[in-house]
């Protein structure tokens, strides 16, 4: 039986079709620095942590300046301290941001001597044994899972992602190891050196989500990573075979074609499962979850009683002296990283680019703390941007668009600020991959225009919401005032009535007059009686 099933799976592997997503482009990988192992940087003296969540909304600090914090302690909701030390300040400081903005940051003065102590503390606190047997769906959520952020670039909290499933069954868990963007190699380096830990993390993730199927998708341009991962996965699957009680599914490894942006969520789902996610549907609606391979590794770290407060960053670019992959604690400044990797020399003549060459943006200074979103720092030669010329309607942009949009039409409307038409043309589904920019023969900055239009769209939606809210508040106030007015009017009316009733009492004056008359009469009678008595005397 087992033989048959293994035969079937191998047959399936042989006949597995390569699915393709629409659009996309072939790009040279240009991934240098993979020959050296991942360096771990020394802990910097100071870490700066922006008090922002993944979508840049402000977070409320749970600590105040002067507090002593230990590694793993919550500094804010979802933000764990990456080191033991003291909070020296909460200040407005520049962050990695395309607009060069500032944000409130928690500054931690670190104590590197406290590191082993923190590790011991962590092992004491989390009671899960490292090699405890895993059963699907029964894995308890340790509080530190909440500190894991997606390490693929968006830094979306892992728990929120899992919770988005609701009570739907997770049919397919896709581990995203495509890393399709040129020059970025942090995931590849991680897979080459930490395949076993990654698979350990994946197994825990499978247990956590009770996934019915688990696919690891790696681009075929990473043979060494595929080899290492395959070994680790097979070893793990063998133990699963040996353990008849386990309900964990086996991990499948799928080699996918190298094509940008196959690592984006929807193209990845398409190439691994041949499933088209219809517009306005979410992968979780289909029971699909995509988790980055580095995030899976972080899950593994948590279950090994370690911390998920660092990430691997690729240092690359044509002016980089030593391209490499380094593991850095969140909150480390770019300057520290560049200094430690001997890349600080050529900074003056270069531009610093955070994020991939297509999806990232330039920053104007290097004293910026890295976050979970920073997967790549590029040191590039300064170059003049190409001057855009008129669109010749060649539609190369539409052909290359992985989101199946019409960039040319979108660009017209976005330029004219016609955000309504942009919305009709599904602007919100643009993943800002930059394919259209690369293929455009007229060098039109399409992606930048779409980013602009998307911000405008967001602002308009917010404005409309605020207007609606203001209207509701205005109307309820009007109603309240009207009610008060009515109540007052009624009070007035009542008082008037009371006065009126007094008046009617006054109208009954005859009584008084008669009473007076009676009183006078009495007095008169009494006087008469007195007079009479005098006469009698």
């Amino acid at each position: 039986m087992k033989l048959l099933s293994s035969l079937l799976t191998s047959l399936e592997k042989q006949t597995a079709r390569q699915y393709r997503f629409r659009g996309g482009i072939q790009l040279p990988g240009n991934k240098k620095g993979l020959e050296t192992p991942i360096k771990t940087l020394s802990l910097p003296d100071e870490l700066k942590l922006p008090l922002l969540d993944y979508s840049h909304r402000p977070l409320q600090a749970l600590v105040k300046p002067g507090d002593a914090v230990s590694r793993g302690q919550w500094l804010a909701k979802g933000l764990a301290s990456p080191a033991t030390g003291t909070i020296s300040d909460i200040q407005h400081a520049p962050i990695i941001h395309p607009g060069g903005l500032n944000a409130n940051c928690i500054v931690i003065r670190t104590r590197s001597d406290a590191e082993p102590e923190a590790q011991a503390e962590q092992e004491k606190k989390t009671g899960v044994a490292a090699n405890s047997k895993l059963t699907a769906g029964t894995q308890t959520v340790t509080p530190n899972i909440a500190s894991i952020k997606g390490l693929g670039g968006a830094a979306f909290p892992l728990l929120d992602k899992i919770n988005a499933l609701g009570n739907r069954e997770l049919t397919t868990l896709i581990i995203n190891a495509a890393e399709c963007e040129p020059q970025i190699a942090c995931d590849e380096a991680l897979m080459q050196s930490h395949a076993i830990e990654i698979v350990f993390g994946i197994n825990h993730l499978v247990a956590l989500t009770a996934a019915k199927r688990c696919i690891v998708a790696i681009e075929d341009s990473k043979p060494l990573a595929i080899e290492k991962m395959l070994q680790a996965i097979e070893a793990s699957n063998l133990t699963k075979d040996a353990d008849t009680n386990t309900s964990l599914v086996k991990i499948e490894l799928k080699t996918i074609g190298t094509r940008y942006p196959t690592g984006a969520e929807l193209p990845l789902i398409k190439v691994t499962t041949n499933l088209d996610i219809t517009r306005n549907m979410h992968p979780t609606d289909h029971g699909i979850l995509c988790v980055n391979v580095a995030t899976a590794h972080a899950v593994g770290l948590i279950y090994k009683q370690q911390f998920a407060d660092s990430r691997v960053i690729t240092i690359a670019g044509n002016n980089a002296a030593k391209p490499c992959n380094v593991r850095v604690r969140f909150g480390t400044s770019i300057e520290h990283i560049l200094a430690q990797t001997e890349n600080l020399a050529a900074i003056d003549q270069s531009t610093i680019h955070c994020g991939g060459p297509l999806s990232g943006f330039e920053v104007s200074q290097i004293d910026l703390p890295v976050t979970a979103q920073t997967h790549c720092i590029l040191i590039n030669q300064r170059q003049k941007p190409a001057t855009p010329v008129a669109c010749i309607r060649c539609s190369a942009c539409a052909d290359s668009c992985p989101a199946e949009l019409l960039p040319q039409q979108l660009h017209w409307y976005a330029q004219a600020n016609d955000i309504e038409r942009c919305t009709e043309l599904n602007l919100a589904h643009c993943i800002e991959c930059g394919c259209c920019d690369l293929v455009c023969p007229s060098a039109i900055p399409l992606t930048a225009t779409f980013r602009y239009a998307k911000s405008q769209q967001l602002a308009l939606t917010k404005q409309a919401q605020q207007a609606a809210q203001a209207e509701v508040r205005f109307e309820s106030r009007e109603k309240r005032l009207a009610k008060q007015e009515e109540a007052r009017a009624q009070r007035l009316l009542k008082r008037k009535e009371a006065v009126a009733s007094n008046k009617s009492a006054k109208q009954n004056t005859d009584g008084i007059q008669s009473a007076l008359a009676r009183a006078r009469e009495q007095a008169h009678n009494r006087a008469q009686a007195r007079r009479n008595s005098k006469k009698d005397l």
């Binding site: 309607r393 539609s395 199946e404 019409l406 039409q409 009709e424 043309l425």
Partner: protein, 353 residues
């Protein structure tokens, strides 16, 4: 743009070799005129002249336009055509990327409806070989000299001199022979017969009579034109290989045209073009790869391109088979240019649901 120019070289060379080197004069002059006018317009519109010219779009348009012209078209008409191309075809709409109609075809169509006689004056392949380049230039500058020579040739040879010297393109011959069918001549009002056709029919009716073996074309020209078409096809394949153009428009255009021509030749009792003749004896190949694929005026989506190409292919057939012109490229392309906004809109609506 420059890849397209490179791809035009074999076709241009073939045309110059087969028809006359005067074609090169046409190209040169129309490029110069278009460049001058474009610079002027750019200055008037206060746009950066050098940057706009360097994209090569106007050079290419003028080149494509000149390739459609008969070799000895009088110079002043050529200038008018090039001017129409630049001004009416491109700049009245706002320049590169804004024009709804293919500029080269606008220039050609203006000339064709304004000067039908000179615009259909083609020559037998060897007829012009006796003249030097300067003489050819002289013909272009001074149309009267040309007429003198034509009439002189006719009188001395006392045969069908006019025909020996000037010659209708193969498609023109087929069309006129169709018009000469007795049942059609009796009711010639049914088909638009241009005055020029009648003149040609009267001067050399024997040229249009059916040959004994039943083939339509016997003149040397029938050998020459497929060479030109093949040369253009080589350029087109090069463009496909370089991914400068997509396969959608050329394929759908040629396919729809072939299907209709095939059906027509099967079903009609009148002389009609066979599929191979339809493809190689006109400018269909040239249009499929170089004219219809102009990205500015073509439909943008892949589905839209298929519709657009098919539309042009059908229109070419209908104009050739039932219309007033032997080869309907220009009007087919311009008519489909008209439909592009609608095609794009419908495709957009279908994809953006």
């Amino acid at each position: 743009m420059f890849t397209v120019m490179l791809a035009l070289l074999p076709g241009t060379a073939a045309l110059a070799f087969v028809v006359s080197p005067a074609i090169l004069i046409n190209i040169l002059i129309s490029i110069v005129v278009a460049l001058i006018l474009e610079s002027l317009v750019l200055v008037l519109r206060s746009k950066p002249v050098a940057r706009s010219l360097s994209d090569g779009s106007i050079v290419l348009a003028a080149w494509l336009f000149a390739l459609c012209l008969p070799p000895l078209l009088p110079l002043w008409q050529l200038v008018i055509g090039a001017a129409m191309l630049t001004l009416l075809g491109k700049h009245v709409y706002g320049g590169l990327g804004q024009n709804p109609f293919n500029p080269a075809m606008v220039g050609y169509a203006v000339l064709l409806v304004s000067f039908p006689q000179t615009m259909t004056l083609w020559f037998a392949p060897d007829a012009l070989n006796q003249y030097t380049f300067t003489e050819l230039l002289n013909f272009k500058l001074n149309p009267d000299a040309l007429n003198t020579i034509i009439s002189a040739t006719s009188s001395t040879t006392n045969t069908t001199g006019f025909d020996a010297f000037t010659q209708a393109t193969p498609l023109e011959q087929v069309r006129i022979r169709r018009l000469l069918q007795p049942d059609l001549l009796n009711s010639s009002a049914q088909l638009p017969v241009r005055a020029f056709d009648q003149v040609q029919m009267q001067t050399s009716p024997q040229a249009f009579e059916a040959t004994p073996d039943g083939t339509v074309l016997t003149t040397p020209v029938s050998v020459a034109w497929p060479w030109v078409s093949s040369a253009f096809a080589i350029g087109g394949v090069f463009l496909l290989y370089k991914k400068t153009i997509s396969w959608h428009i050329p394929t759908s255009l040629l396919l729809s045209m072939c299907v209709l021509h095939g059906l027509h030749s099967l079903l009609t009792h009148l002389p009609a073009l066979s599929v191979a003749e339809a493809v190689f004896y006109g400018s269909a190949v040239y249009a499929a790869f170089f004219i219809a694929t102009d990205p500015v005026t073509a439909a943008t989506s892949q589905a839209g391109k298929l519709v657009y190409g098919t539309g042009i292919g059908c229109l070419i057939f209908f104009i050739r088979a039932f219309g007033g012109y032997p080869d309907g490229i220009a009007f087919a392309v311009l008519l489909m240019n008209l439909c592009v906004p609608l095609i794009d809109h419908l495709v957009m609506r279908a994809t953006c649901k």
